[in-house]
């Protein structure tokens, strides 16, 4: 396709993305490199319904002059990325030098917010992604074996976890797993432990968030794989059967290779979405034990004082993390692309 034609075709899409994603990303990068001006503070008396106190306030006149001279703030380079609330390089190297052993180093590392969040984020990503892919494939194979008439309603029910608004979906699940809720109470009965609580222990909280993630994402993998199954050519399968392949062998050597490109697509999207896990943490009130990078951004932007610089740095680190995670998948896509091109 000539460059000019290509440009005309891609223009609307590109324009939307440049205006509403690329430009904001650019400004976020700039923002992450700057910090606020020193705020000039003055002592003054503030009074309210409950009496007067002496308190500091920002001296508007003095601060305004600074802001007008340099609206972006003070250039800080990568300072925000390296500070304690992000990569914490100083703290990590201190911990490395003074740690009494590997265990001590890890526990000090886990005391830093970024690494604590990263630990959960990575665990979540690497558990949920493969399980979702396997579960999706298994369900797709199962549904594919059903009589044609039953497939429609089954597909429809299977999509439910994906289509119920996560905001409420997680709220209701949160209630169900409460010690007084139907799932929580049933689990207590099964375990024979009246104090069992899915919300109190760190390990069980991780498990809950991960299970919710799988439940919520499995339909996506399922629908993609199910559709994929429809295209496996029956001649190949029949040929394999005639050659004496068992059912398992047919799945392993005929179906799975056929689904490989689809698995790449699902993996790509899943890795990306799971790395940004957020709704499940808020919905299940799991932040005490499980935080993620996206949760930090939320926390930075939702306080009384919004910390844009910090949120910007965390956002860029998220993009970087996604890029690293996706690299192996992308190298594969690059090879495919070149192969097809030739």
């Amino acid at each position: 396709m000539p460059h000019r034609t290509f440009l005309w075709f891609i223009l609307p899409s590109l324009l939307a993305m440049v205006l509403f994603i690329a430009l904001p990303i650019g400004s976020v990068i700039v923002q992450s490199l700057y910090v606020e001006h020193p705020q000039v503070m003055v002592e003054s008396e503030s009074c309210g319904p409950f009496g007067c106190t002496s308190a500091t306030t920002v001296d508007q006149a003095a601060t305004r002059a600074l802001r007008e001279a340099h609206p972006l703030g003070r250039f800080n380079g990568l300072g925000t990325y390296l500070d304690r609330n992000h990569l914490a390089t100083t703290e990590v190297s201190a911990a490395w030098q003074t740690a009494t052993g590997p265990g001590d180093f890890v526990s000090r590392l886990m005391n830093l917010p970024f690494y604590k969040a990263l630990a959960f984020t990575l665990t979540y990503t690497f558990v949920v992604t493969p399980v979702v892919i396997l579960a999706g494939l298994a369900i797709a194979l199962g549904v594919n074996g059903l009589p044609r008439l039953l497939r429609g309603p089954t597909i429809f029910v299977s999509l439910l976890p994906m289509i119920v608004t996560p905001l409420i979906g997680s709220l209701i699940l949160f209630w169900m797993i409460d010690a007084d809720g139907i799932i929580g109470a049933t689990l207590q009965r099964i375990a024979g432990d009246p104090d069992l609580s899915l919300k109190a222990s760190p390990a069980l909280t991780w498990l809950t968030v991960i299970l919710y993630g799988i439940w919520h994402q499995a339909p996506f993998a399922f629908i993609v794989f199910y559709a994929g199954l429809q295209t496996v050519p029956s001649e190949t399968l029949e040929a394999a059967q005639i050659d004496g392949a068992s059912r398992w062998q047919r799945i392993r050597y005929v179906v799975v290779p056929y689904m490989a490109p689809l698995a790449v697509f699902v993996t790509l999207i899943q890795l990306m979405d799971n790395f940004r896990v957020f709704e499940a943490i808020v919905g299940l009130s799991a932040a005490a034990n499980a935080t993620s990078l996206s949760y930090f951004i939320y926390s930075d932007l939702n306080g009384d004082t919004q910390q844009f610089g910090s949120a910007a740095a965390t956002s860029m680190l998220t993009i970087l993390g996604v890029a690293i995670l996706l690299t192996p998948v992308l190298i594969r896509t690059w090879r495919d692309f070149n192969r097809k091109r030739v």
């Binding site: 075709f9 609307p12 990303i25 289509i163 608004t165 209701i172 007084d180 429809q230 399968l237 993009i319």
Partner: protein, 293 residues
């Protein structure tokens, strides 16, 4: 898959049926529970005393004289004017899907047919764009949108949702177009059509299945979105999900949780209809599309 290849041992049939049934229970149970509970009062559905209350409706009977009540639905739709939010969601979703798909089909087609390396890098760039957390993007929009008086209007939210949705749409449609044989449109061009004409006359008629599947995902994104719509729309333009969130109350005041539950159940209803209606296309669309990546 042909029936010949599909015939299997009874044990396997039983196993896979059990597996599917188990999955269906897991998938549907929370929703059925919600559906049932939406006809109870809060004291039952969110009972601290005994979850069996949600089944028997102890408080519901005590408060309304009947085991089922439509109070939640009445409260949400009549008292709180949820229909207005539903209407706004309808508008936002309709235009987001239409515009996303228009942009996406044109772009996806170009990416699939380009053959130059930059097409690949554009796709990569789209992935990077998709990695950006939405809340950061949205808080970045606020200042300019307020300054230029763009904030709060439905078209603003729509175009933002379209843009946020483009990377996924492009990826999906691009892989779909890869599967439509090149010969189709190229032979049309040999016959003297321009690229756009051959796209219009040859590709458009065969692309619907893929477009509808992609549309389903665009639909879900716009329908379930909270970050964009909650922050960029004013009260009178509010869509369903932020409105549902506002039913939940705050630290200060107890919310009407049952309104939210009823609203969620009703908000899911159009999705049922939609999926039942497009079910065949959803499946066949992917069949023709993303399958061969």
């Amino acid at each position: 898959m042909a029936s010949a290849a599909n015939r299997r041992a009874p044990a396997l049939v039983v196993l896979s049926t059990v597996l599917v049934l188990l999955w269906l229970v897991i998938a549907a149970f929370p929703f059925l529970w919600t559906l049932w509970g939406s006809f109870k009062v809060q004291g039952d559905f969110f009972s601290r005393a005994d979850w069996m209350n949600a089944i028997w409706g102890t408080h519901t009977i005590a408060q309304t004289g009947n085991a089922f009540t439509a109070q939640g639905y009445y409260g949400a739709w009549v008292q709180e004017g949820f229909w207005r939010a539903a209407l706004n969601t309808g508008i936002v979703v309709f235009f987001t899907v239409i515009i996303s798909l228009t942009f996406g089909t044109l772009g996806g087609y170009a990416l699939a047919r380009s053959g130059y390396r930059y097409a690949f890098w554009l796709l990569m760039l789209a992935l990077v764009f998709r990695a950006m957390p939405h809340i950061t993007l949205v808080s970045g929009y606020l200042m300019p949108f307020f300054q230029w008086n763009l904030w709060g209007h439905l078209p603003t939210a729509i175009i933002v949702l379209v843009a946020i949705n483009q990377p996924f749409t492009l990826w999906m449609l691009h892989s779909f177009f890869l599967n439509i044989p090149k010969d189709l449109d190229e032979s049309a061009m040999v016959d003297g059509c321009t690229r756009f004409q051959s796209f219009w006359h040859v590709i458009v008629p065969v692309m619907w299945p893929g477009v509808i599947t992609t549309g389903l995902f665009s639909f879900l994104l716009a329908y379930n979105d909270f970050a964009v719509t909650a922050m960029l729309l004013s009260r009178e333009n509010q869509t369903m999900v932020p409105q549902i969130a506002s039913f939940l109350g705050s630290t200060y005041e107890e919310g009407n949780v049952m309104f939210a539950v009823a609203a969620v159940v009703s908000a899911t209803a159009p999705l049922f209809v939609l999926i039942l209606f497009f079910q065949r296309q959803i499946v066949s669309g992917l069949t023709a599309g993303a399958v061969k990546g």
